[in-house]
């Protein structure tokens, strides 16, 4: 061993037994471990932004090209259900934030309760979303599987003026393609989030996260808030086109 290159560092040499059990062997301090995990999570969220970014770019282009079709398509969405879902998700972000706070305060019971509430709200969101998907199916608005441009050529119930030229009416398929791709990817992220939450609840009941080491809860909170923010963009872009007119 070349001792010259590796200068001795007495503070770190033999102090391993003083470290808390959750400090992984390759970190020097708990602080470093926490910062590293948090930095990694933010970077992961950056990759998620790029992932959704591809679809947002597509949305931007097609909405500029086929604005009337996008307006007519968005008329078919239920603003009521969309608004309720937005409120549900914002509440779930609040319960998640309270969960992180409870972990910080080392309150095990509260943490479990807030996480369970977050699961509940997430499930409510997915239930409402499923209902909306079902309605699209019944109205023949699912491109590829079950689509008819009838509502956009002849006008639909509630929107008798949505009478587009046949070729523009066909373009509403790209609106619904993006609707299903974007909300579908969002819902997939919610399902993954809820699955992780279930694991977190089980481990929280065993007493994890409330003994000073709460990086996992903190980072999962970041993920959950990110998924919410995606919805905050999806809601106006998909549901509220032309509502100001």
């Amino acid at each position: 061993m070349d001792s010259q290159a590796i200068a001795t560092h007495p503070e770190h040499a033999h102090g391993e037994h003083e470290h808390p059990p959750y400090l992984r062997h390759h970190f020097a301090t708990v602080e470093q471990q926490r910062e590293t995990a948090s930095f990694g999570m933010w970077l992961f969220l950056l990759t998620e932004i790029m992932f959704f970014g591809g679809m947002f770019a597509a949305y931007l282009i097609y909405r500029n090209w086929y604005y009337p079709a996008f307006v007519a398509g968005s008329h078919q969405l239920s603003i009521l259900l969309g608004t309720v879902n937005t409120a549900v998700l914002i509440c779930s972000s609040f319960t998640m934030a309270m969960g992180v706070y409870s972990a910080e305060m080392k309150r095990k019971g509260a943490l479990v309760m807030w996480l369970l509430l977050t699961i509940l709200l997430g499930t409510v969101f997915l239930g409402i979303k499923a209902d909306e998907y079902h309605e699209k199916w019944e109205k023949h608005h699912v491109p590829g599987l079950n689509f008819s441009a009838n509502d956009f050529v002849n006008g639909s119930k509630g929107y008798p003026d949505d009478k587009l030229a046949p070729d523009m009416a066909q373009k509403s398929q790209v609106y619904f393609s993006l609707y299903f791709a974007m909300t579908g990817m969002h819902a997939l992220h919610m399902i993954i989030g809820i699955s992780i939450l279930i694991v977190l609840v089980i481990r929280a009941r065993q007493g994890a996260y409330t003994e000073g080491h709460m990086t996992t809860i903190e980072n999962f909170g970041l993920y959950w808030h990110f998924v919410d923010i995606v919805w905050i963009f999806l809601f106006p872009l998909l549901y509220l086109i032309s509502r100001h007119q």
């Binding site: 010259q4 560092h9 062997h25 990694g40 990759t47 970014g53 597509a58 599987l145 609106y175 791709a181």
Partner: protein, 553 residues
């Protein structure tokens, strides 16, 4: 600045009693390891496996092109062959080649850490790679794909009856393996550096991996979503890329090349990092213009994101945007040239020795320069119309990726082989392999520039008879090249048992990795190193060696 150092006497070197290789035994200790060095070895074995599968396909392609007719195989078999060759070589070999093997092994050691920031995610990324590889093999065995590695719509979504979905999923999964590798590197380089290891004391190898990681983290998710949309269009028929439903196939190309152009920098940047280390070590000089070389890596990464449209000049994009993208494409040549010039300046008045890694590095510099300059031809709008979709572009790409990246990979594998295994490779045989590879490469791909310039299109199993002479040359070269790649495979395996014992620092190099035993301990360092010298400081090393001698004496 240059100091002549004689190589140490390796007769006295012994293998250390304890190292990462013998700290634990059994298959399980490898498959469930968190040690970045063991994961690097797992990657090395798996990418070598896929390299030889992809290489065998390249051999069959060249064999078919020996004659102008389609005689060896049917045209659609040929289509599947070049598609699978592209998919395997790009996503399963070139993208993970240097970063996941040599980078994985070295980055924690070079920054003075015990491991990467997230060892479990590192292992996960290897498993994702294996799942991706298995899916690719499944697509291959069940009948193959013939979209070309570019998955161009609407060909991939509407007109083909091959296993696009399996192959698409394979690339999706392998993409996440690459994202996790990049994420791990960035976090490690930011947060895990040893005391005293400032950004500008980092070896250039780390800088180039940092730049490549930015591309992996920001580019790969865009490929992922593009593939998801293709798969959804193929399975349930949504219409984001389907003109009948309001979509635009060109958008797929934009999304695909937004990743796949930066991807070529993901492939080449880590190789450039290897070359910086090798050139400095074997000319016993600090890399000339360290800061410029470091920032040129980052510049390549940044510019790399704004050139993707040059793959689409003939596909009906606006003339004005083509103009801008052509200009930006030429701008990427600037940081690449900075590297070439700085390496040359490093050689100037250095004490150059010609060990095998250095021979491969010289091969890299020559071939990469030709590949890079022909890239400027292709970036010029007028030339591009003539040359696009011809063998010129095939030659250009292979000069950069095979002549550049594969040379760099082999250079790196030879250079760090003693560190990874504790044993030397056979010097004479490996020099021969480097030479054979270089000659075989030139013979294979130089004729393709000419035949492409004369107008032979790529991706056809047949061609007009007047191109046969050049194609025969190319096929002959491919067999020489094949020998060049088989040789290292054989003698490196041989050296695992019979190679001479290397000792800690056989090259008298300055990096942190050379100051620890070979092969290293599982935790890399006995104590956290404190770095008090600049990168590539050979006088520091000479003084250190002098002191050692006096203490021993």
């Amino acid at each position: 600045m240059s100091t002549i150092v004689s190589l140490p006497d390796q007769q006295t070197a012994t293998l250390p009693k304890r190292s990462y290789l013998n700290s634990e035994y059994g298959l399980k200790s490898w498959l469930l390891t968190g040690d970045h060095k063991r994961i690097a070895i797992l990657y090395l074995i798996s990418i070598t496996f896929f390299f030889f599968i992809g290489g065998a396909m390249a051999g069959l392609i060249r064999l078919e092109l020996l004659t102008p007719q389609t005689d060896l195989m049917a045209a659609d078999t040929y289509n599947k062959l070049f598609t699978m060759h592209g998919i395997i070589m790009i996503f399963l070999f070139l993208v993970p080649s240097v970063p996941a093997t040599i980078g994985n092994f070295l980055i924690p050691i070079m920054v003075g850490a015990k491991d990467l920031a997230f060892p479990k995610i590192n292992l996960l990324s290897w498993y994702l790679y294996i799942i991706g590889g298995t899916l690719t093999l499944a697509a291959l065995i069940s009948g193959g794909v013939d979209t070309g590695w570019t998955f161009t719509t609407p060909l991939s979504t509407h007109y083909l009856n091959t296993h696009v979905i399996t192959a698409g999923l394979a690339i999706f999964v392998a993409g996440f393996s690459s994202i996790f590798t990049g994420l791990n590197f960035i976090v490690t380089i930011h947060r895990m550096r040893a005391p005293g290891m400032t950004w500008f004391r980092l070896p250039l190898f780390v800088w180039s991996h940092y730049a490549a990681s930015i591309l992996m983290v920001l580019g790969t998710p865009v490929l992922a979503i593009a593939l998801v949309l293709v798969l959804l269009e193929r399975t349930i028929g949504i219409g984001v890329f389907d003109p009948a439903k309001g979509g635009d196939p060109l958008l797929f190309q934009h999304l695909f090349w937004f990743y796949s152009h930066p991807a070529v920098y993901i492939m080449i940047l880590p190789g450039m990092g290897v070359i910086s280390e090798v050139i400095s070590t074997f000319s016993r000089k600090r890399v000339f213009g360290y800061t410029a070389v470091a920032f040129s890596s980052v510049a390549i990464a940044v510019f790399g994101f704004f050139v993707w449209e040059h793959h689409m000049f003939v596909m009906g994009v606006s003339n004005y945007s083509a103009l801008v993208f052509s200009l930006l494409t030429m701008l990427v040549a600037v940081p690449s040239a900075i590297k070439i010039f700085n390496w040359s300046a490093t050689l100037y008045k250095g004490s150059i020795t010609f060990e095998t890694p250095m021979l491969y590095a010289f091969g890299f510099i020559g071939l990469f320069t030709i590949g890079g300059l022909t890239g400027v031809f292709l970036g010029s709008l007028g030339m591009d119309i003539h040359l696009t979709e011809t063998y010129f572009i095939v030659a250009h790409f292979h000069f950069v990726m095979v002549g550049g990246m594969l040379m760099a990979f082999l250079s790196g594998v030879h250079f760090w082989w003693p560190k990874m295994t504790g044993r030397m490779y056979p010097e004479g045989l490996s020099k021969l392999a480097a030479l054979v590879t270089f000659i075989g490469f030139i013979l294979t791909f130089f004729p393709q520039f000419i035949v492409g310039y004369l107008g032979m299109p790529r991706r056809y199993a047949a061609y007009p008879p007047e191109f046969q002479v050049l194609n025969v040359l190319s096929t002959a070269g491919a067999s020489v090249l094949g020998v060049g790649y088989l040789l290292p495979m054989l003698y490196l395996t041989w050296s695992l048992k019979y190679g001479k014992i290397a000792g800690a620092n056989p090259w008298q190099a300055t990096g942190l990795e050379w100051q620890i035993q070979s092969p290293p301990l599982t935790e890399n360092f006995l104590e956290t190193p404190i770095v008090d010298y600049e990168a590539y400081d050979y006088e520091w090393l000479a003084n250190k060696t002098k002191n050692e001698v006096t203490t021993v004496g």
